[in-house]
């Protein structure tokens, strides 16, 4: 009867007589039948329930496949498919967690707790030195069956078969017990390091194969036909970047035979399938393989992330044999990793393909907008991803990195020579003049980017492009392209690309990523940005800045970066200026004291001139000043090019600034001099007059440089002359009766304050000294037609016409807050990093932004230690990428490396933290895979 019913459903399942390859779109929320058009599958993501989940229906049907009564190979595969999805991962069911916490956006706290949950499970797995030989640790209710099992032993003895281990007494009953938790509870309770895994488990759960509990040594799974079933875990072979797959060795509860469940990248699984036996005519392995390949291609083109699921049944002898080898490998002191890898390798062979899944990796909200803004800001955006090329190109389109009608240069090469040939041919086609490497670093201006061309290459081609003979040409080509997409890259390749751009093009680079495989890239780049969230904390820990969302990168760069650059440029100029003014004031006095080195300014004032009297102003500029409002900067990314072209700090700015300082010191000194000429003015009275006029001039200069007056500005700029100079000097002069030999300032300033000789220069000197600067500023602000000047004028006029309210009573961010629905904290860029890197990270981050403006790399070309590219030995962090690593799918991250002239940026999409490192971070339990 049941047989018939299943047969009956077959056409629906398999589309006519084609059968048994079950491939799913697992979109986190929905499981779709494979016959669904790809576009529908992608569009149906948001549906809470899958529109067509025939496979799930088949599983949940009353006569559906059951472990107890497997009627056909088809049913068996259906079961195994879901078992792999549910079990072959490191998802922990954390049912006691408050739902809100695990389901919410992964904030730092919940991420930490999630992290610890997964870690605890890993620790337990690890503590168990060897896979249990048998299932004696299984539930008490299974004791009937387990009584025959031997005590657990580390000895690799062949295990006698153990009968069916099911957690129910109702084996004979027609209907199994219902699952002890609801779907909603389970969905919230799944805690995974990687959102992909959680999505798969959740999809399996919705389809009826529910992971209920995971312990160190077993998994409890609920199946529609069997109820709760405990699967003993014999061995967990975690994901790593070399193997690019994960396997779990379980004991089939029904047959008690070992069964290997494998999930991995296509290249990591398809190569290891059992070769089809031509003699076996019943076998449909070839057809399954063909269809799976077809579907996987469809998924990639749709921008889905694909995984292959496979299974292998072992018999006890094989298992015992392997267990012996594995145990030996585990016990080795030297070469343990390699031996374990060999053991894994041996087991993960001869697989039977079950099907494929596609996980939609949705772009984070605002990602496309951010990428577009970055490109408008003149930043070159490179994507370094571990995804397949088709997936990456699709995502590139989705985030507007690639545009329709763009010529895609797809570089495929198997040798450096081939790569070099193709690159050079394209260069000729693009009509780019060849330049040796040293010239690239020397040149002053970056060539214009061709909007119509984008470069796409995969890990293998990239490896050849990083070759010393090709890299120079590759860079020449790459910088012509509007965007560069590197697929299937390993973490070390990512770092190598960043390093190459940084070193050879002399660019400032920013790397942004969110996963463990972005860490080396983040550390290599000038500025590393980590996205905290579902992929764990490793990227964040390594980064200079940590963001909660990719789209905050726009604000970080366009607003905070621009502000930072502008502030630091003006602050640096001011610091040079004020030191020059101070020194020159002392210098002019040497003309009148026989160059004896006597100073007219008292020694305490000399110290305090820089330390207190003129220090708050530049600090306030450097920390708080905003020349343009955040709204204008966000709306006009093109303004960022100012920072790239160093327009706030050009060499002539520096020299003019110094010239201005000399002029101002001349005015300050000689106005005071004219007042003291041929009088009975004492040296210290004269010094007080000079230093006082100097302080007022320097602070007034500072005030001219301020672009946005906040309360702290007023305090700093009024407090500097009034408190730090006048009040301080008066107090010092009153208390210092006999001190500070030889100047002994007792009552000098008090006496000075009563004379016109002191006061007259205080007004005249600053006004005369600052007249040239004021004229130049006003003139340039009025007549310049560049975009920044336009923006400044627009802001000024907008502010003046805005309302009758004084400008300083209005918050410039009011508009933003309104737009964001009142939540300003969500929009906040986290300037502090999480983890233990607070101080250092912020410091390096600031340094990174400083260098955004400076063309650091260009001036070093005369350095004899910097050899031309071809001869310089290059060291990459980490081991050199091997061919195997490149062809295999090592990591599935999509990361941005953004470069720009004098600035750089990188971006990250998502990553799996399933590297071998146990410090892997967190995952948000309740969210779909997203950027």
């Amino acid at each position: 009867d049941s047989q018939a019913s299943i047969e009956c459903r077959q056409p629906i399942l398999d589309g006519g007589n084609q059968k048994r390859d079950c491939d799913f779109d697992v979109t986190g929320a929905a499981v779709c039948g494979r016959d669904l058009p790809v576009s529908t599958a992608a569009a149906a993501n948001n549906a809470d329930r899958s529109p067509t989940s025939e496979l799930a229906d088949a599983l949940a049907a009353p006569d559906g496949p059951s472990l107890r009564r497997v009627t056909s190979l088809r049913q068996r595969r259906l079961l195994d498919f879901f078992l792999v999805m549910a079990v072959c991962n490191s998802v922990v069911v954390s049912i006691d967690q408050p739902a809100s916490e695990s389901a919410a956006d992964s904030t730092a706290t919940s991420a930490t707790s999630v992290d610890s949950a997964v870690k605890r499970w890993k620790r337990q797995v690890w503590r168990r030195k060897a896979p249990p030989a048998a299932s004696s640790e299984l539930s008490a209710s299974a004791a009937v069956a387990a009584s025959a099992a031997p005590t657990p032993s580390l000895t690799p003895s062949p295990t006698p078969p153990t009968p069916l281990v099911l957690e129910t007494d109702q084996l004979s009953a027609g209907t199994p017990e219902p699952c002890r938790y609801t779907d909603a509870e389970l969905t919230k309770a799944y805690v995974a390091e990687s959102p992909d895994e959680a999505a798969l488990v959740r999809a399996a759960c919705r389809s009826g194969c529910k992971l209920v509990q995971r312990d160190a040594d077993s998994c409890l799974v609920w199946l529609p036909a069997d109820g709760h079933v405990r699967l003993p875990l014999l061995c967990v072979m975690p994901f790593d970047a070399d193997r690019k797959r994960m396997s779990v060795l379980v004991r089939d509860p029904a047959t008690n035979r070992p069964m290997l469940l494998t999930k991995g990248a296509d290249c990591a699984v398809l190569d290891r399938l059992r070769p089809s036996d031509p003699a076996d005519t019943d076998s449909d392995a070839d057809r399954v393989l063909l269809l799976t390949r077809l579907h996987m291609e469809q998924y990639s083109v749709a921008g889905l992330r694909t995984l292959c699921l496979a299974v292998r049944y072992l018999d006890e002898a094989e298992y015992a044999d392997w267990l012996a080898e594995y145990t030996l490998a585990q016990r080795r002191i030297q070469g343990r990793e390699a031996a374990m890898a060999r053991a894994f390798d041996r087991l993960e062979a001869g697989l039977e393909l079950l099907g494929a899944t596609g996980v939609e990796d949705r772009l984070q909200e605002g990602a496309a907008d951010t990428v577009a803004a970055l490109r408008e800001a003149g930043i070159s955006v490179w994507v370094l991803t571990g995804d397949k090329q088709e997936t990456a190109v699709q995502v590139g389109h989705a985030c507007r990195l690639l545009t329709e009608g763009q010529q895609l240069l797809t570089l495929v090469a198997d040798s450096p020579a081939e790569a070099g040939d193709r690159v050079r041919r394209w260069l000729r086609e693009l009509d780019v003049a060849y330049r040796p490497a040293y010239q690239i670093r020397q040149r002053r201006a970056r060539p214009a980017v061709r909007d119509g061309v984008a470069l796409v290459l995969d890990g293998r081609a990239l490896r050849h492009c990083l070759d010393e003979l090709v890299s120079c040409d590759f860079l020449l080509l790459a910088e012509q392209c509007s965007s560069v997409l590197c697929c299937r890259t390993t973490p070390s390749q990512k770092a190598a690309v960043v390093g190459l751009v940084k070193e050879s093009l002399g660019m400032q680079t920013l790397a942004i990523g969110d996963g463990a495989n972005d860490v080396s890239m983040i550390q290599t780049a000038d500025i590393g940005v980590g996205i905290s969230g579902q992929e764990g904390m490793q990227a964040v820990m390594a980064a200079d800045f940590s963001l909660a969302r990719f789209r905050f990168l726009k604000k970080l760069l366009l607003v905070h970066g621009h502000w930072c650059y502008d502030r630091l440029a003006r602050m640096s100029l001011y610091l040079f200026y004020k030191n020059c003014v101070y020194i020159m004031m002392l210098f002019w006095y040497q003309l009148f004291n026989g160059f004896s080195g006597q100073v007219n300014i008292g020694q305490v004032y000399q110290i305090c001139f820089n330390l207190t009297m003129t220090s708050l102003g530049p600090l306030v500029i450097g920390i708080l000043d905003r020349h343009l409002s955040a709204e204008i900067l966000m709306a006009n990314p093109v303004l960022y090019t100012d920072a790239q072209n160093c327009r706030s700090y050009l060499p002539w700015h520096f020299w003019l600034n110094i010239l201005d300082a000399v002029w101002q010191s001349l005015v300050v000194f000689f106005v005071a001099y004219l007042g003291a000429m041929d009088t009975d003015c004492g040296i210290w009275s004269f010094g007080d007059t000079v230093v006082s006029a100097g302080v007022i001039t320097a602070v007034a200069h500072n005030a001219l440089e301020v672009r946005g007056w906040t309360g702290l500005h007023w305090f700093a700029l009024l407090g500097s002359p009034l408190i730090a100079w006048f009040a301080f000097a008066i107090v010092l002069n009153l208390v210092c009766t006999n001190c500070l030999h030889p100047d002994n300032p007792y009552y000098v300033i008090v006496h000075g304050l009563t004379t016109a000789r002191f006061w007259l220069p205080q007004l005249l000197a600053p006004v005369l000294a600052l007249t040239p600067r004021l004229c130049v500023r006003a003139y340039r602000n009025t007549t310049r037609s560049n975009l920044t000047a336009q923006a400044l004028r627009h802001q000024s006029s907008a502010a003046s016409t805005r309302s009758t309210k004084p400008a300083w009573l209005l918050s410039p961010s009011a508009a933003t807050r309104r737009r964001n629905g009142g939540g300003s904290s969500g929009d906040a860029v986290e300037l502090a990093t999480a983890g233990n890197f607070d101080g250092a990270a912020v410091a390096t981050g600031a340094a990174g932004i400083i260098s955004v403006g400076g063309e650091v790399g260009l001036s070093t070309s005369s350095d004899p230690h910097r050899l031309p590219l071809q001869t310089r030995p290059r060291t990459f962090p980490g081991p050199p990428p091997t061919a195997a690593a490149l062809t295999a799918l090592s990591s599935r991250s999509l990361s941005f490396l953004v470069r720009g002239n004098g600035s750089g940026v990188g971006g990250g999409r998502r990553v799996r933290t399933r590297s071998a490192s146990s410090a892997a971070a967190t995952a948000a339990a309740g969210r779909r895979a997203s950027w």
Binding site: S139, A140, G597, R626, D680, I683, R707, H741, L760, L787
Partner: protein
């Protein structure tokens, strides 16, 4: 029942694991079973979320003025309008000050000997032998109305030289250091009366002098180089006949800062065991009864001048002194005077000059037109600049209107 058995089973497992491993507690699976385990867990790490204050989020309200021609030209006019009157007032005040300066560097004594050469001889400064007294006939063309001050002016005297400025010991001047205590090293070489035990390399003239080896009080080059010309001023009244000369009464009381007299120069109780500065003719006690507080010429001298050409206040004319009847009630009348100089201070060595200055004063100090003139010039300059920026403003707004039509790259407006 199954769930219960599962739960109890889990609990048993937990307990077993906890006992056997002693490690960290297993992951909590069920609330009821893990109430205890939760308590053992470490508290969550402190939240590192940055503060949402306006300061931390860079959202402090700010006033963002822009310096353009529009906003700057009123400023220029304002400065011009302020500075021209200030300069004019200052200039007038300076011009109202009358002063008369008499250079007596090359004056000769009655026998025609040049006092400059005389003073240049070794040891003349100290011993004044033979004394060189010169008579200068001076003429005041205008009345000096109001309080008149007498200054001496030196040129090319670098009282601001580094080694000179520091060559003093304020503690000595305050009377805090007894004669037995060492003065500051900075006073060297005028620190110790040259004894045999301390050869003075720099000052060979003093080496031969068999000294006592006692400390010099007040020590240092400043004190040692004290200006020691003395003056007497006689007025030849046109009404009283040519022979009658009335001495102008003046005093040195009040020529120094009150703060210096009160707090920086004290009374030295005991000069025994100390030496006077080598160039001094008189000892400190002889110069003033309550040295150094009463020695105002020394106090003025010790406040070293800022520039190599300087004046120092020497005497304040007493306009109501009984000895002079009513001659000087309103200042010094114009006419002929005789200045009697006891010429002692050598200036030949540094190519300096000496002058005697009679001046009145105003609120702005002495006669010094420079600042007033600069104020006026700067004021005028700003008025011109203001006009220039009005033109620039008009021109720019015209350009802006015309360029709006062109399709040049513009920024996206934001409504703030």
């Amino acid at each position: 029942p199954i769930i219960q058995s599962m739960a109890s089973n889990k609990r048993a497992q937990h307990e077993m694991q906890a006992h056997s491993s002693g490690g960290p507690p297993p992951p909590p699976q069920y609330p009821d079973a893990d109430a205890g385990a939760d308590n053992e867990e470490k508290p969550p790490p402190p939240l590192r979320k940055p503060s949402d204050s306006k300061f931390h989020q860079q959202k402090l309200p700010a006033w963002q003025p822009l310096l353009t021609a529009r906003s700057v030209f009123p400023l220029f006019f304002l400065v011009g309008a302020a500075f021209v009157p200030i300069g004019a007032v200052l200039f007038t005040a300076s011009q109202s000050v009358k002063e008369a300066e008499f250079n007596y560097t090359n004056c000769r004594d009655a026998s025609g000997i040049s006092c400059l050469e005389q003073a240049n001889k070794p040891d003349y400064y100290r011993w004044l032998r033979p004394p060189c007294v010169c008579n200068m006939s001076i003429h005041l063309p205008d009345n000096l109305t109001g309080q008149v001050f007498a200054y001496y002016a030196l040129t090319n005297f670098y009282q601001n030289h580094r080694r000179y400025v520091k060559s003093r010991d304020d503690s000595q001047l305050l009377g805090w250091k007894p004669g037995s205590e060492e003065p500051l090293q900075d006073c060297s070489p005028y620190r110790q009366d040259p004894g045999s035990e301390e050869p003075l390399q720099d000052c060979s003239p003093y080496r031969q002098d068999p000294g006592s080896g006692s400390w010099i009080l007040p020590c240092g080059a400043i004190a040692n180089s004290l200006f020691n010309d003395t003056f007497q001023l006689f007025y030849h009244s046109p009404t009283a006949g040519a022979d009658l000369a009335v001495e102008v009464p003046w005093t040195s009381r009040g020529i120094s800062w009150a703060s210096d007299r009160e707090r920086k120069f004290g009374r030295v109780k005991n000069f025994t065991g100390t030496s006077k500065p080598p160039n001094w003719r008189l000892s400190p006690e002889q110069r003033s009864a309550d040295s150094f507080q009463g020695d105002e010429e020394l106090i003025v001298w010790m406040r070293t001048a800022a520039l190599p050409s300087f004046r120092k206040l020497h005497r304040i004319v007493l306009h109501n002194a009984s000895s002079a009847a009513d001659w000087f009630k309103d200042g010094l009348p114009s006419g002929n005077y005789t200045l009697l100089v006891n010429y002692a201070y050598p200036v030949n060595a540094f190519s300096g000059t000496k002058s005697f200055v009679l001046t009145t004063s105003s609120w702005s100090g002495g006669r010094n037109p420079a600042l007033g003139i600069i104020y006026m010039v700067v004021g005028c300059l700003h008025i011109v600049l203001g006009a220039l920026f009005v033109v620039i403003h008009i021109q720019a707004s015209k350009n802006l209107r015309s360029s709006n039509n062109e399709d040049q790259q513009t920024i996206r407006p934001v409504f703030l």
